[in-house]
Amino acid sequence: MKMSMQGHVYPPYRLTPDRMRAREFMAALGIDVEPAMPPPTYLVFLRGETLGVNLFADLDIPREKALHGGQRYEWFAPVTFDDAFDVTVTVDKMVEKTGKRGMVWFADVTFDYRFAGTDRLAVREVTRLVKQS
């Protein structure tokens, strides 16, 4: 893992919830409804990949060596389909450890979703990426 990325802050990107994607999201969970509001975890780090935040490439995590360690969400305000978000991504903490099968690397990456054009935080997501050797 590219440890020098610790502390890196990406330029913000803008994200707008999409009703069709939200419906598809719920359908994948087994729920066939048109949601009135975006599902709580609709805002997910994966959406940043096509918007300039390609963590797997930038942190040097080949996908066949990647594991997803977990996610943490904090909600600060309701989110609607009429909202847009400026998303700031920070590579917070990177750690390497020696495990039973060799080196393992961990990275916590924070996604702050602020209401577009404001400093008001709506959602914070921390995603924990793992690279196996």
């Binding site: 994607r21 939200a22 598809e24 999201f25 359908a27 994948a28 969970l29 087994g30 729920i31 509001m37 599902p39 709580p40 975890t41 997910v44 994966l46 959406r47 990949e49 096509t50 996908r63 066949e64 060596k65 990647a66 594991l67 997803h68 360690g69 977990g70 996610q71 943490r72 969400y73 904090e74 909600w75 309701p78 924990r128």
Partner: protein, 131 residues
């Protein structure tokens, strides 16, 4: 249901989800704009050391969020922290459980997801603002 209605040890839900199946796993990748082939390509999954394609960890997170929302309403969600502890395959059924661990200052829950053989695939906590 008000905050006072809950007590430590209460089980908010213990729900067994039927196997997701490959089609819905692929649909979740599409819905989350996840390009990782490990969720749709068996050969790639094999190269990564797994027996078949993997179900996404964020799907477990999303199911916890959905089930918590069903109980207390989505606006009550404040924190959801989930650690993925074992791979989940599309043919796995999962039992998701939330048990109250504290009622003040927020309602707090311990979360777990287990396969039918007892293997824990995720654990975590939730904090809810209810009442």
């Amino acid at each position: 249901m008000s905050k006072r209605a809950y007590a430590t040890g209460d089980v908010l839900f213990e729900t067994t989800l039927l196997p997701t199946g490959r089609a819905r796993v692929a649909q979740f990748s599409q819905a989350t704009e996840d390009p990782n082939p490990i969720h749709v390509d068996d050969a790639f999954a094999a190269r990564a050391g797994f027996k078949t394609v993997l179900q996404q960890g964020p799907m477990t997170t999303a199911q916890f969020a959905r089930l918590l929302s069903d109980v207390v309403g989505a606006p009550a969600l404040r924190v959801l922290d989930v650690t993925f502890t074992a791979p989940v395959y599309p043919e796995d059924s999962l039992t998701l459980r939330a048990e109250v661990t504290a009622t003040s200052p927020r309602l707090a829950c311990a979360l777990s997801a287990r396969k039918s053989d007892g293997t824990e695939t995720a654990r975590g906590i939730a904090e809810l603002e209810v009442g």
